[in-house]
Symmetry: D2
Subunit: 240 residues, 4 copies
């Protein structure tokens, strides 16, 4: 059983009626529903910025196999201690799925080491997402391409390290491309960045989007060695 | 249920008493036993060079999710048509695990596009295998390092494309290193090369070796999209 | 001084008036002119399919640092011995730049190990090429994006191994994306695949296209170690 | 002309006689001498921790194409503002070469996003460095392998992201292996980590070590596009 925590800053839903209309109980609730719909065996909980410790206590993180992150307007309000705690957990094996505007979150920038900037435009345009690594488990059950209309545009250059694996590339009506599905490994943790999900659109109700996120959870769940690999330390004696 | 076919050229066992002593029913039999021991749910069969079509008929390959390949002295005796058939199956999604001296097999060279040469020495020396990608599913349950003594030495430069993922690196008593656990994706197929397994040593009885190969099977089993991605063909009309 | 050989099958120019109008002396001639324009110090020669040994004799290849390949309708007419000779030279350090429809050439497929298929459409549409790896030497002097209109469309899934480096991604008016600038290392040789260049369009007169190909030549020129690394062989004695 | 700044914390040389005996004017001075010996056209300067702003003022960094970093016992004494300034410069295209114990520097950890831990042992043992990517420009003129005796041991698991390119792998007498030559791209900057160089050994006088560092400088020098790629900003209007 994979234990998932869906984190959302949960601000747009309070302040923008347009967002509340699409996600009345919050984006996190719809993402969580999608996971349960796709994989009933997942144990899913949610956490949000306004909760104590942003809902990401030591206990919660210790019981989380994969953390999903949605943030946008309140990146700066996330406490650095919590960011460091999440960072440490990822290096020790917790999976992390960063969605959409989470590209600019503290935790993603800290794990990438780069600026993580990109281009964007809100013009209600069509996005066509192409699968470029069809053998990847995250692409399981995903067609050659699928469309979202409308979505926000994100364009290159996306200032990330070269991803370990590039799974999806987006085409936008207005003339841009974007590396929309990227994996990274950091420490013992696996990270999946997935682009779609502007807060004013019903993207997280889309069955293929739900499929991709559920696939991402299964891929990112810890599968590594049982022994600790971390730290700077003196080793065994030389071989005799 | 994952369907595995273990292929062995099955020649050393006929002609070298030393090999027959270690693998009386053939290397393939011991590899197959190890898979069943590790994962009773695997459906495992074997195939060998002397069989008609080397045991790799269209039917067998169509019912194979992952093919394991052990060959050494008879690479040239493998029929090119069978090599092409296996190649085609890999590009269409069948997993392939190439063991030890299989680095010089026709199928591995055809998939890599390089010479696949390396250094070697039979000196009954110690091999220490280090895990350098502890988060990889193939490293699941594998310690930081483990030892084989004796083993044949394989040394760099190993003339392969840069692997998509480097999981294990070997240290040899005599002074060499080797990229011993490497993954590659070709078409919709996943390939895992794993170094150990000289025919005169009981390597395939070793529990960690068995664990790694079983992990490799699970990793390499097809997980891709359900739609065909192959071929050179015209697409849909332009978007209206 | 880098020695470049530009190879062209040189067939369309003989048989299609439309192509002859754009490239009256052959595509190879215009590519060669572009190289000299960009880098007067390059030593550039050409070779074509109808010449003896397709112009790729042992002597010519031994004096070639980087080979540029354009082929389309006559891939099957290239002699396998010449393909093997070029392959061997690449593994020994010669650079190779494969242009446009060369994706389906024998030499590219042999080096990649995959089917190398893709989607295509001739609809006189606009191509916008985005730079996704701005720090790469092949992107030197190349803007964030540039446009070709018209060009032929090439679309994903492009059946290649994951490139070592992804430098350019194309956007097409009709709704597709394509990994248009990819590098691969094989043996001691460097390979650059660059998408644009349909035979009926004046693509190889375009200053940025010329810049990219010249950058590619500089990147692909041999720079490796002076000692031989090839072959399967017994090594030194163990360390005393 | 490539402008290089060699940075050294310059502490061991003040406090440890053994280090002062090997590097009487500081490690930075010997690294700088090696660069000038190998490439007289380099413009080389040095900077050290005790200088104002650690010698890394805005002016110095703006006039630096490649920064070389050696630090060990005083990582924590490096001011965070200077670390951020160097980070920003790397993302904007300055090359960075991190040597030996610099793996634990603030700047390297910030760029990697991981813990950067490793194993180590001071046992005066032999290190044998193998070239695993002979076609890489950093391996130019470097033999198949070369030896340092004695050196400090560094062992896996080295907690870094999978390097973009793996060029050298070390073998140690006591039984460990290490990914000793690794490249990374971050933003528009190129980073090369190179393992050897314990302060009590004359490693930076070794001609092959000097060759590798000089090659690294040439490789890491900015070569990207002339236009700015950074930041999070809105793009052009959609294509008409």
């Amino acid at each position: 059983m994979i234990r998932v925590t869906v984190w959302n800053e949960f601000k747009h839903e309070q302040t923008h009626e347009q967002v509340r209309n699409v996600y009345p109980d919050g984006i996190h609730r719809v993402i969580a529903d999608g996971l349960i719909e796709q994989e009933p065996a997942f144990a899913v909980r949610t956490a949000t910025l306004p909760e104590p410790e942003h809902g990401l206590t030591e206990d919660v993180l210790n019981e989380t196999d994969v953390l999903i992150w949605w943030g946008h307007m309140a990146h700066d309000d996330v406490n650095d201690d919590i960011v460091n705690r999440v960072h440490e957990r990822v290096l020790n094996g917790m999976g992390l799925i960063v969605l959409h505007s989470g590209h600019y979150s503290k935790i993603f920038k800290k794990l990438m080491g780069t600026g993580c900037g990109l281009k964007w435009r809100e013009a209600h345009e069509k996005e066509r997402i192409w699968t470029v690594d069809p053998s990847h488990p995250i692409a399981q059950g995903v067609p050659e391409y699928f469309e979202l209309k409308p979505e926000e545009m994100y364009g290159e250059h996306f200032d990330i390290p070269a991803p370990d694996e590039l799974i999806f590339v987006s085409w936008f009506e207005g003339g841009e491309v974007f590396r929309s599905g990227c994996t990274f490994r950091r420490g013992q943790g696996k990270i999946f960045y997935f682009r779609p999900g502007h807060e004013t659109y019903p993207t997280y109700y889309h069955p293929i989007i739900r499929r991709v996120i559920a696939n991402g959870v299964k891929w990112a769940a810890p599968s590594g060695a049982g022994v600790p690999f971390r730290g700077n330390h003196q080793p065994l004696e030389p071989i005799g």
